[in-house]
């Protein structure tokens, strides 16, 4: 499973950073930065789904 992050859709709600800091960082303006480009380690998969399910702008997609 991996994460697809669309920077143009991100408005910096920071829900992903709060729920899955292992997967998302924030830049100095508060926009998300994806930290893991390829496959997620299994123990982070649930957090990846949580982040996707809570992004109000649909900027995060889970690809199985």
């Amino acid at each position: 499973m991996r994460i697809q992050f669309e920077r143009d859709a991100c408005q910096g709600h920071n829900r992903c950073y709060l729920l899955a800091p292992e997967i998302f960082d924030v830049d100095d303006e508060g926009y998300a930065v994806l930290r893991i480009d390829g496959d997620l380690p299994p123990e982070l998969e649930e957090k990846g789904r949580l982040a996707a399910d809570n992004c109000p702008e649909y900027a995060i997609t889970v690809i199985d």
Partner: protein
């Protein structure tokens, strides 16, 4: 829209700073002849009014009725305004900056709409492309990492308020007003510290904000009693001698070497003062109102640290305080409603957050809700710039309350004992509770 992406923002010399609006603009904070209190609503579908008490006390029922059967209400009041209640309509409008301008975000009697693309209080009243320039200036100081540094002081503020509140309760059979003695002071003190204004001026800030947000254009204002007069003094002092605060930062900020215009500096500072206080006060107050009536949720928060991240977002979803507005720029149809240029459109994020098309069990408060794309902080380019700060304040305020107050309830069974704010920011302004058991927190 007149400016283009290449154009530098309008700049101006800082000397002779005198924030003043164009002659034909009306500022809600300027001396005016008030339009007065509004008559009762005749029909909520065709004559709605969000500034009357009946709305404030019953808003969730009004929204439910609209979502299920209206779904876009209208009123001739305020010069003509619409109320699209469904999530899909709110989301579409928030993302459509071509048809809907932010030059007016508070629906009012005077018809005040600013000049696109800058507006009275950038960036909230700005449209693209200027919006992004004004917004960028604010994002740094309000980023998650910058806000984390403010948390210890916010916690100490909450603890000191709780000590006073618990002491007051001991002398009054446990009865205190949680809104007046606790929730209202937290955002005031936090933002006052950030801006560099005296925390003791909270009463003054709340007066300005009440006139602008709760009864827009309905209250008389004396010429020397305006927010403009108050802030002008503070800005001039910092132009002369910068300090380590946000007013100094904005007064001396530039974009590509061009200083901000005085109106921009004033507008952004006014915005930070207005946008952060009643909103956060409302979110904390509504959450306490909920906990007073749902002891099982109070218990859960006291015992389950894992539930907190979900609970905070559920408080924000279910009790979202802020409804924004837009001005129609070009003819457009929304869910059958034909809107004309100049019409007001409310953006009721609180109603969108309770739409069953967008959320499972939307009308239920689910403390550990796992899928929660709520829109309490808006959607699209105007996403609340203060959301990280607001979230931190809400979390710290509730954590400190829940830790100190072991048990409490509403002081009265009469729903009208709790007074909800009228206007576009909704939360309890009077919240009498009875504290049944509490331990005052130690200073940190």
């Amino acid at each position: 829209m007149s400016s283009s992406a290449e154009q530098p923002p309008p700049g101006g010399p800082r000397a002779g700073f005198a924030p003043r609006l164009d002659q034909d603009e009306v500022d809600l904070d300027q001396p005016i002849t008030p339009a007065g209190q509004h008559p009762p609503v005749q029909d909520w579908d065709t004559d709605f009014d969000h500034t009357v008490t009946e709305y404030a006390q019953n808003a969730p029922e009004v929204w439910r009725h609209y979502r299920e059967s209206c779904p876009v209400a209208h009123t001739e009041r305020f010069g003509g305004a619409w109320f699209p209640a469904r999530h899909s309509d709110v989301e579409a409008i928030a993302h459509d900056t071509d048809h809907f301008s932010s030059r007016g975000v508070i629906v009012n009697d005077l018809g005040f709409r600013g000049q696109a693309p800058v507006g009275f209080a950038p960036p909230i009243t700005s449209d693209p492309p200027f919006h992004q320039i004004a917004r960028k200036l604010l994002l740094g100081p309000f980023s998650p990492k910058a806000v984390a540094a403010l948390e210890p002081a916010a916690r100490e503020t909450c603890r000191s308020l709780l000590r006073d509140t618990i002491a007051a309760a001991e002398g009054s059979g446990g009865i205190v007003d949680a809104a007046q003695s606790y929730s209202q002071h937290i955002p005031v003190r936090v933002i006052a510290r950030m801006l560099g204004l005296p925390e003791s001026d909270g009463e003054v800030f709340r007066k300005f904000i009440h006139r602008i947000l709760e009864k827009p254009g309905q209250v008389a204002v004396a010429p020397d009693d305006t927010m403009a007069a108050y802030l002008e003094t503070a800005i001039l002092e910092r132009i002369a001698e910068p300090r380590d605060d946000l007013i100094s930062y904005l007064a001396h900020a530039d974009v590509d070497g061009v200083p901000l215009t005085p109106d921009h500096v004033f507008g952004s500072i006014a915005l930070l003062l207005i946008a952060g206080i009643d909103t956060t006060w409302s979110a904390i107050g509504s959450s306490l109102w909920h906990l007073a009536q749902n002891p099982e949720h109070h218990e859960r928060l006291r015992n389950d640290p894992e539930v907190w991240p979900f609970a905070i977002e559920e408080f924000l979803r279910y009790y979202a305080p802020v409804t924004m507005a837009r001005v129609v720029e070009e003819p457009v149809t929304v869910n059958g409603a034909e809107m004309d240029p100049g019409d007001w459109v409310l953006l009721p994020f609180p109603s969108a957050n309770r739409d069953s098309e967008a959320f499972d069990d939307a009308e239920e408060f689910v403390i550990d809700r796992k899928r929660n794309r709520h829109a309490a902080f808006g959607l699209g380019i105007h996403r609340c710039a203060g959301s990280n700060l607001a979230r931190m304040e809400l979390r710290v305020a509730l954590k400190e309350w829940v830790d100190a107050v072991e048990s409490f309830e509403l002081a009265s069974d009469d729903p009208d004992a709790v007074r909800w704010a009228t206007g576009q920011v909704r939360g309890p302004r009077e919240l009498p509770v009875r504290i049944l058991a509490a331990t005052a927190p130690e200073p940190t």
